[in-house]
Structures are given as structure tokens and as C-alpha cells.
């Protein structure tokens, strides 16, 4: 009696392919898990070292002894001011530019020049943006060293990424929707307003918040444009100078002597918490605005 070979038994070649496939999968998985190490490491060290210093008075008091004691209230409020104003500046500029590029621009030399400029602007180091901010906002536009100047600098620095992210959100809306609208006699703007924007607003806002919040963690752009080493009161208008968490972290960890070990860690942890809560806000936005799948 002869056994009929099952058609589902793998050949030697197929068995080799399966083994190779499992190996590749395991390799990529382990490399991905490796990404978690710095995240968990950073958070772990910050919590272990910084948490003991994080009392309510640390958040709510003004600093004393150049930051070596007391709290971080003016810096915390200052960072929130900088974020909010930078968002307000980056939103209209970035969205307008992205709408122009995604919906109106034809493929000509001007568009190519603008795209080239965006790519290059994204590659400019933050300290160069800072010097630009000093020249353009502090002196030329006469904002002085202020929240306004610092936030404008942050906004300009983030604009290229905001524009690219927004343009991608706009382009994710299928072209067929636009053509259907145009064929009904809708103008470009009616199409954008009725169809494109409602379906990309969650992506636009999420991208904007993520990008700007990341920038607020930077020290260089605000150092010369509006951030100060010490200021005992929280800012009250956009023309005030302000302390900021990122700059405060820089000073307490390098410029001030005899700072208790826990303070810089606590400042860093606060900065991360501020950025993370902004990100949580962005995620909440996204879920709220895009509760249902539309196509």
C-alpha cells in the first residue's frame, strides 16, 4: 500500500521559508522592544530621583536661592503661556500655507521653491532660529524680549513640520470627493470648507499640538528672545518676559551651585508631564473629532 503524500505538507523549500520568516519576525520584534528601553529608562530615573521633591509647594511657590530652593510656579505658567501663544501663531500660518500648497498650488517654479524652502527650514538648527528670532521679532518688529517674541520664534521653527503634517492631513481626503464637489459647481473654497477641512481637522490639530509642544521643550529658541533666568512672578501679558521650564532646567542643572540633587530631576519630570498632558489633549481632540469612520 502506498501512502498518498498530503498536498499540505511543506516542501523543504517552504519549511526553510517559514524558519526564515520566524527569525526575521523575532529580530524585528526585539529591535522594536529595544525602543522602549530609553523611554522607560528616562521616565524611571526621573520619577525615582525627582518624585520626592515634587510637593504641592514645589509647583506653587516662587523660586528662591536662584532656583536651588523654593518652587517653579513662574516657570510652569511661563511654559504654558509660550505653548499657547506659539500654537496661536503657528495655527493660522501653517494651515493657510498648507491649504495653499495642497489645494491651490500648481506645479510650477514658485511651488517648487516653496517646497524647497520648507524642507530646508526644517533642517535649520534651533540656535539659528533663535538668532533669527532675536533679529526679526525682538529688534525689527520691536516685540522686545517677551513671550510674544519667544513664541513667534518657536512658531517659525515648527512651521515647516506643521505645514507638512497639515498638508498630509489634507491630502488624505480622497481626490474623488473634491472632483465630485467641483463637478457640482462648488468653488475650490466651498469644497475645502464643506468637505476637505471637516475631514482633516482632527489630523491638523493633532499634528499641530504634537509639533509645537515638542518645540516648547527646547531651550535655545527662547533663551535670547524672552526667557529669563529668574522672575519671581508669573507673566501677565504676552509682552512680559518669563521663566520657562526648559530654560530653568538648564540653569539649575548647569549654572547654579549647591542645587539639591532632586530639583533638576523634578523640573525635568514636570516638563515631560506638561508635554505629555498636551499630547493627551491632542489625542482627546482626535478621538472627539473623529468618533466615526467616514469612508
Amino acid at each position: 500500500m502506498t501512502t498518498v503524500p498530503s498536498p499540505f505538507l511543506p516542501t523543504a523549500h517552504e519549511a526553510g521559508a517559514y524558519r526564515w520568516q520566524s527569525l526575521v519576525r523575532f529580530l524585528f520584534l526585539s529591535l522594536t522592544v529595544l525602543l522602549l528601553v530609553p523611554v522607560l529608562g528616562i521616565l524611571g530615573v526621573l520619577v525615582v530621583e525627582g518624585a520626592p521633591a515634587m510637593t504641592p509647594s514645589f509647583f506653587l511657590d516662587k523660586p528662591s536661592k536662584l532656583g536651588a530652593a523654593g518652587g517653579i510656579w513662574p516657570a510652569l505658567v511661563g511654559t504654558i503661556w509660550l505653548t499657547a501663544v506659539a500654537l496661536m501663531v503657528a495655527l493660522p500660518l501653517g494651515v493657510a500655507a498648507a491649504i495653499y500648497l495642497a489645494e491651490y498650488a500648481r506645479d510650477n517654479w514658485l511651488t517648487r521653491l516653496i517646497n524647497l524652502a520648507i524642507v530646508n527650514l526644517a533642517g535649520v538648527p534651533s540656535i539659528v532660529h533663535a538668532l533669527f528670532g532675536v533679529g526679526a521679532f525682538v529688534y525689527f518688529l520691536g516685540f522686545g524680549e517677551s513671550i510674544l517674541a519667544a513664541s513667534c520664534t518657536l512658531a517659525v521653527m515648527t512651521l515647516p513640520v506643521v505645514i507638512v503634517a497639515t498638508r498630509e492631513s489634507l491630502q488624505a481626503v480622497p481626490k474623488a470627493f473634491r472632483e465630485a464637489c467641483w463637478n457640482m459647481g462648488a468653488s475650490r473654497w466651498q469644497t475645502i470648507w464643506n468637505i476637505v477641512l471637516p475631514n482633516s481637522v482632527s489630523g491638523i490639530l493633532t499634528g499641530l499640538i504634537l509639533v509645537v509642544c515638542r518645540a516648547v521643550g527646547e531651550t535655545a529658541p527662547i533663551m535670547f528672545t524672552g526667557a529669563v533666568f529668574l522672575r519671581m512672578v508669573a507673566p501677565e501679558s504676552v509682552f512680559d518676559r518669563t521663566m520657562a521650564l526648559s530654560f530653568h532646567l538648564y540653569t539649575v542643572s548647569t549654572q547654579v551651585t549647591e542645587v539639591p540633587r532632586a530639583i533638576p530631576f523634578a523640573v525635568a519630570l514636570t516638563l515631560i508631564l506638561v508635554v505629555l498632558s498636551m499630547n493627551a489633549l491632542a489625542i482627546w481632540f482626535r478621538m472627539k473629532l473623529r468618533g466615526r469612520k467616514k469612508w
Binding site: A176, F177, R178, E179, A180, C181, W182, N183, M184, G185, A186, S187, Q190, N194, I195, P198, N199, R292, K293, K294, W295
Partner: protein, 266 residues
């Protein structure tokens, strides 16, 4: 209503000024020629059928009628197309031109709006704000597109989540909501089941009283059922235009048309 003339004797309709006149129409996409030397008239209140194999230039022809070259990259239109007596190349306000022309493409496009808003969009773009008027338009257009009974209880549901056939009928309802003078149908029945297709065809026959229809179709029998006159396009040229009845009863003037109708090439 007087039954449409299907015979050679000229009637009042045959001599009335055409809604669309096309002279020497050529269409290129970059260096590729899609259509050349097309001369034809589309009369008011007729269903003008266009049949022909793939790449014959049927869809390109429709695109030229409502100036879609504005958003199709590299599309070039030569020759003249007049719509209601105006050369479409000289119309500055293309939005107005397009709002007079309804378009339905082979693949349905339900906009990511509610079913109601899909149909109410065009009237709203024209500035209609009255809820009562919009309600009336939405119901009338959905009924005509043979969709009302299926969606009347869920008008606030998303139009883009309907089934393919339903979305196509929604697209037709949307085109009707423009109250167009001219309706361009490009293989509207590809995504629609045969029973519904028949219902829509009945509606199209009735619509002939109010508007003019250009029907591009791959189903030669559909052209036979609906069209007053049928044009046969082949390889970027209009081979012939003949009253449908005559074309399908052996009266095609060009042997290639007869070959196509009998399925001898394609």
C-alpha cells in the same frame, strides 16, 4: 408628450437649436491624443447615447463638456464646445457652467456627509437656506434616484457608508439636486444591480421631458433602450451618429459599428 422622433423625417425637435454643439473637438493628455475631429450636436430633451470600446474617448468627451480640463492634469482641449449658445472656453464663471451640468461617474462617490447633506449640498451652495425647501428637494431627488424608500428612515446616516449601488443612486440624486439642464452619465450602472438599473432607466426616460442626457455606456442594449440617437466612438474618433432605432435595426452607416454591435471586435 409627443414621442421622440426616431426616424429620418425632421420634426420641430430636430431643427430646434441644439443645447450642445461640438465642432472639431480634440482632446490630448500631454502627447497622447484621446479624441480628435469630433463634430456633433446634442439636442434639447434628448437622450444622446455614446457607445464604443475602451479608449474610444467617451469619458474624455464628457470631460470636455463641463471643462474638467481645469483639474485633470495635462488635459488639453482643442476645437469648440458651446453650451446653450456659449463657447465653454470663454465662460469665466466655470462654477456656474458646472452647476448647470450634472455628472455621474462609473464609481460612486458618496461624500463624507449625511445622506441628507449629500443631496442638500448643491442647493445650499446656491444659497438655499430654507429647511422646508431643502426637505422637499432631498425627498424629490432621492425618490427619482430610486433610493428614498431605502434611506428615508436614516437620512442623517453617512452617505459614504452606503453600499456601492446605493451610493451610486445617491450620486444620481445629488446630480439631480443641481436641477441641471444637462446630465452626463458615464456608465452609471456598473455598480448598480440590474433591477435597480431598470428603475433608474425608467426615471431617465421621464427626465427627458425636463433635461438633456448624455449617456455613455458599455451596455449597447442600454443605449438601445434609452437613447434617441446613438454615437459610436472608436479609437478617439466619432465614427457615426445615427438614430438609435435605425442603428440597432441594421441601419448603421459604418461597417465597424455593425461589427461592434454584434460583438465581432472589442
Amino acid at each position: 408628450m409627443v414621442s421622440p422622433s426616431l426616424h429620418a423625417t425632421p420634426t420641430a425637435r430636430d431643427t430646434a437649436p441644439a443645447l450642445v454643439t461640438v465642432r472639431g473637438l480634440g482632446i490630448r493628455y500631454g502627447a497622447k491624443v484621446a479624441l480628435q475631429g469630433v463634430d456633433l450636436d446634442i439636442r434639447r430633451n434628448e437622450i444622446f447615447g455614446i457607445i464604443g470600446p475602451a479608449n474610444a474617448g467617451k469619458t474624455s468627451f464628457l470631460r470636455a463638456l463641463n471643462r474638467m480640463d481645469e483639474f485633470v492634469p495635462h488635459m488639453q482641449i482643442d476645437g469648440t464646445v458651446t453650451f446653450a449658445g456659449r463657447d465653454v472656453r470663454t465662460i469665466r464663471n466655470l462654477y456656474a457652467l458646472r452647476s448647470h451640468i450634472g455628472v455621474v461617474f462609473p464609481l460612486p462617490v458618496g461624500l463624507p456627509l449625511s445622506i441628507y447633506d449629500n443631496v442638500a449640498l448643491s442647493p445650499r451652495l446656491r444659497g438655499e437656506r430654507s429647511k422646508a425647501v431643502l426637505d422637499e428637494i432631498v425627498e424629490r431627488c432621492l425618490r427619482r434616484a430610486a433610493l428614498w424608500d431605502e434611506v428615508k428612515d436614516r437620512l442623517q446616516g453617512l452617505g459614504s457608508l452606503l453600499s456601492g449601488g446605493q451610493q451610486q443612486r445617491l450620486t444620481i440624486a445629488r446630480a439631480l439636486s443641481q436641477e441641471p439642464e444637462l446630465l452626463l452619465l458615464d456608465e452609471f450602472s456598473i455598480a448598480v444591480d440590474p433591477v435597480t438599473t431598470m428603475r433608474i432607466e425608467e426615471v431617465l426616460k421621464e427626465l427627458r421631458r425636463e433635461l438633456t442626457i448624455v449617456l455613455v455606456t458599455n451596455l449597447v442594449q442600454q443605449a438601445r433602450r434609452l437613447a434617441d440617437r446613438t454615437a459610436f466612438f472608436l479609437g478617439g474618433r466619432c465614427v457615426e451618429i445615427t438614430p438609435t432605432e435605425r442603428m440597432f435595426s441594421g441601419g448603421a452607416t459604418d461597417p465597424r459599428t455593425a461589427d461592434y454591435l454584434e460583438g465581432r471586435f472589442g
